[in-house]
Symmetry: C2
Subunit: 205 residues, 2 copies
């Protein structure tokens, strides 16, 4: 059942469904339909039913889906039915923002360390932790068994940092630096460079 390969594009939509479901749950709703969920997230009801049905029969005809049940299932599928430790590389403004970001709570993630190679930043207090020296990064990541990193270093340093992260055992990278990085197939990278995101919209203006 879980044997068939699920397309990336479906996996990418699940967090969006989850976010909407959590919003409904917070508002006190108990059940929803593919129709209603679709209106929330701007995706057709049929698409949502088909996406969800890849993982099992979670709905009930005539009634729809139990919101809490579906939330639990999605969290399990996405492996966020636990807390993942995350490190931030680069203690610039964006690194700071991510290090105190309180939106990770209840969404499956916890920042556990932030690194920078600038000696003036090392030791600086950011929220609950101190900026650590990049020189110690590999050791720390290995000893903490962290698998996820967010990169906010300048473009010129991103590949070098990425190589060190991969070597230290990082498997997922959220890259805010405006540059493509090369990684082995076993490592997943998502790009989130603000300027590139804006450039995707100007065509339509």
């Amino acid at each position: 059942m879980n044997a068939k390969k699920i397309p990336d594009i479906i996996i990418g939509r699940l967090p969006v469904y989850l976010r909407a479901l959590q919003h409904m749950a917070d508002a006190g709703s108990k059940t929803t339909s593919s129709q209603e969920l679709g209106e929330h997230v701007g995706i057709s009801a049929a698409q949502i039913r088909k996406d969800i049905s890849q993982f099992g029969e979670f709905g009930k005809q005539g009634t729809g889906y139990s919101i809490q049940f579906l939330i639990d299932k999605l969290r399990e599928i996405l492996k966020i039915d636990r807390i993942w430790d995350v490190v931030v590389i680069g203690a610039g403004d964006l690194g700071h923002a991510l290090a105190h970001y309180n939106g990770f709570q209840n969404r499956g993630f916890r920042v556990v360390a932030i690194f920078d190679n600038d000696k003036n930043k090392v030791g600086q207090q950011i929220g609950d932790f101190k900026v650590e020296d990049s020189a110690t990064m590999s050791e720390r990541i290995k000893s903490l068994s962290v698998k996820i990193a967010m990169i906010t270093v300048p473009a010129s340093a991103a590949q070098e940092v990425t190589d060190k992260l991969v070597q230290a055992g990082i498997k997922s990278i959220l890259n805010y630096a405006p540059v493509n990085v090369t990684v082995p197939n076993s490592v997943k990278v998502q790009y989130s460079d603000p300027a590139t995101n804006l450039q995707r919209m100007t065509y339509y203006l």
Copy 2:
């Protein structure tokens, strides 16, 4: 020629090509091939050729593409052969980071104002500008003719802010808040919630 409808998915790849080309140009290269560019961005050479050929015959057989020429064309296609003014809504950590972000320079964008509804933040200096009161947002956006906004407010305020932005004439929104917002068809929204981005990767761990 520009009459045919270009799929969103192609438009979305163009900024990635552009970023790689600018990187090559900075490194002093004059020409490149679909092969080489593909290796940089992790996309097949055929795909790149097909994407680019949607807009004209920009390459030369045997030689490839003139990097500077292709950069100019892509900037023109994406309408970033000019500087777009952008506003930031929400002066939290992420808003701060975006307001001083220097990665917009040379990429087609310039932050011109930042707003918050918290009276304690209004008036605070951030880089070159002061945080302005949200109450004045609509007026300011209209008078500046800004078309692009980045939202960094809490999820609970995002829809209300979005409605005001749309009403003030904003046509592109980069939304960092962890919530889907509803907008008219004439407005484009991109989502960039950090937690959702991380949730897209944990499945593969």
